[in-house]
Subunit: 248 residues, 4 copies
């Protein structure tokens, strides 16, 4: 089996300017996630950032990416529209899976792929408890029925995403809120996963369960073997499909 | 439009033996719910209890019931197996909707209809906040994005129900738990709704939002007009369905 | 109960230029649908067309529309982008339901609301049989388990819409194809329904079952009573929600 | 990674008594499926039959089974009730996946696990075309957007199963029918897949695509790593979950 080519894309600005973020993630949070994932022999992990040439995703690189993990926050608007469309199409065509972390609920590629503006409520950092709602799901493999996140930014309902196709995790927050915190979506021939933990001033990407969820999600969103290419335009069927089989 | 014939079935034992339950619901919690619902001109509400003749549901009565609301707790096992099957079949055939309140997550009719044993975690009475997850749903009409329930019994995940077809409400509990608290299911031609508030020592059935949810749910689970009778056994198609249309 | 303000929007060009379309729908297919729906005392039906001033939907009119029914085909691209965004937002905010008929699977408002490009396979007009997959659904009320559509344009899988939240109808086509032909979606606080029959050269909008589905769908997508306004932007929670209740 | 222990359970009577079934599947259809699957180094495949001791599934064997594939038809009622409950519980507890083939839509374990009586319409053998509805799904990996099954027994809607959690395949039949033909379900911590082809007088278990679907489904229903054991009864939470973390 070929390795899964994973690109972890990070806006990578907070870690350069915010002391607390730098202390937690000295080489960027994408590098921290990579450090955990590198043990997996079935994955090839590389990093990309907004301020890299081509915003980190040249055409060639994108065409070799099986799974794109995305973290962005204050610079969503700087992400190039043409790139956004390329990412969306690659996911819809079943050539690449997509994972949106934390504030990427409003990232342009996530919104374009699933069809949302990602509006939610937010608030001060606080205690969070993550609950597994689908113990049968590949993404909750190895995750207990609940685990603690000592400190996370409050992200809360109402969360105006489309109905999740697979609601894997729900979150409890100290201040009285809940969130559909881990949600799988399917669009075209592609799979998408959103996962809420990961504020830049919180140590969530050092939490082994959060990291395991990301690891599981990479395997889940990974493209399946596609035999019939996904069409980009409506196709006129010139002969009855029943006829088609007559010659076989 | 004909009135909706609603039967509110209550185990009706706690209110006779437990002082706190009697104080809150002197004529039974079913009577309290009826008191609120009676204002609806499109509903005809009657009461039934476990210790009534025929456990409150003679064949004749059942055949005239459009929506069956069910509350049971300590005497689930006393409910007659034959009656359970009649209820299940009536729901599956699309002739009656079913609403399970609170501890009815383990009531025999609910388990038979949706296919579950209804296992969850529970604990002491505490503060609960109910969150609306589907603002587009008929059952959340008139309900704000969240409301407080001052005191309710803790009911929490893991909740081993089948995946809800429509997850309308989620609950936050003081002690660190969440619950998929308001869930719609479809089985055969019938609709079912489970709603978690309603412990016998808590005033939830005096809460106007809880009552409004029950009111909305009655209209939602109400049977739709059925043209093709739901079959109870597999049917052999003697001629191609395409032929059937030749004579029309 | 207030009447449901329904606007049936039609591209309304084929009926002016194509003899067969004109013969079937002399005043436009929207007028034919209106003729059937006018019997409903709970609905106020009006018509709009692409070539009307403001493309038929001035701000004032849109703000008074509860349900927008949409038929478009060859002129999707002419629909104004600003109008598309207004329609999408009104649906997401739960103020208006949306019904997409036939070739509106690629209409700009439908694509913007549910997040799709609506790609499918198509082919020559042929015999279709519509099958009810959800007999419990409000939209299939009064519809038999199957009905014949003598002649319809082939619309077939693969249909790259997001996973339907509610798959009400499936279609069989003579040439060997199937389609997820009647599909409900929820986005934000709004409801959307897509229904496949309705090619301009086919008499589908004279078929009583097709018309009944549209009638049912209008009642289903109709906005529910909204208490909490749907937010257009993320909201910062300045105090714990638990505190909020202390003053009540 | 440990091998997946797969047991293919077959009623195994038709192949002994019906000439056409014997000709197609001389050692039983389960042996034919095993012949195809044996190439997979990650699977250990064994066979079981109704007339074996313990109906083929002793306690010890069941406890070592990761995936149970089931084919039954005329002798559903002979399957032992105690065994049925053991199978159901093992699936709900996330220890075993379950695949129901063809006429197993009415098999007692399938009905107990998903909560259905499995009623559908059926008819003469005919041409079937299988359509992939979820190209993103693990179970459709390597399957084209459609494939022909030259001859299969008609199985058709209305099919009164619970709403599928994942509707992977839809079928077209020559006589004018469709079926939700490949459907995934989740119950408790377990996964279940139903797949319609496989009548005993049809060569479907020699069709490479049908076999590939079964192979994919084995990997999909395979239990995930479970950390928190699934409870068989409601659990009282003696202390706030938030307290639980204080000692960690």
């Amino acid at each position: 089996m070929n390795k899964i080519n994973v690109v972890i894309w990070n806006e990578f600005r907070h870690e350069k300017t915010k002391e607390k973020a730098r202390a937690l993630y000295p080489n960027g949070l994408h590098a921290t996630i990579k450090g955990y994932l590198d043990k997996n022999e079935d994955m090839e992990i590389t990093l990309a950032a907004l301020d890299d040439p081509d915003q980190g995703l040249s055409d060639e690189r994108l065409q070799n990416t099986d799974v794109l993990v995305w973290w962005g926050h204050m610079a969503h608007d700087e992400v190039d529209s043409v790139l956004v469309k390329k990412i969306r199409d690659r996911v819809w065509e079943g050539k690449m899976g997509f994972i949106a972390l934390h504030s990427a609920h409003m990232a342009r590629p996530f919104c374009a792929i699933v069809g949302t503006e990602g509006v939610l409520s937010c608030g001060r950092n606080q205690k969070e408890i993550m609950w597994t709602l689908m113990p049968s799901h590949e993404i909750s493999a190895g995750i207990p029925d609940h685990f603690l996140i000592e400190e996370e930014e409050l992200y809360a309902e109402p969360f105006h995403i489309p109905e999740p196709d697979e609601l894997v995790f729900g979150a409890w927050f100290e201040d009285g809120h809940i969130l559909r915190a881990g949600a799988g979506f399917r669009r075209g021939a592609g799979k998408i996963f959103y996962f809420q933990p990961g504020h830049e001033t919180c140590p969530s990407f050092h939490n082994p369960y959060v990291l395991r969820v990301i690891e599981n999600a990479i395997r889940w969103v990974r493209p399946c073997e596609q035999v019939s290419p996904v069409k980009n335009a409506c196709t006129w069927m010139h002969q009855p499909i029943v006829e088609e089989f007559k010659s076989t």
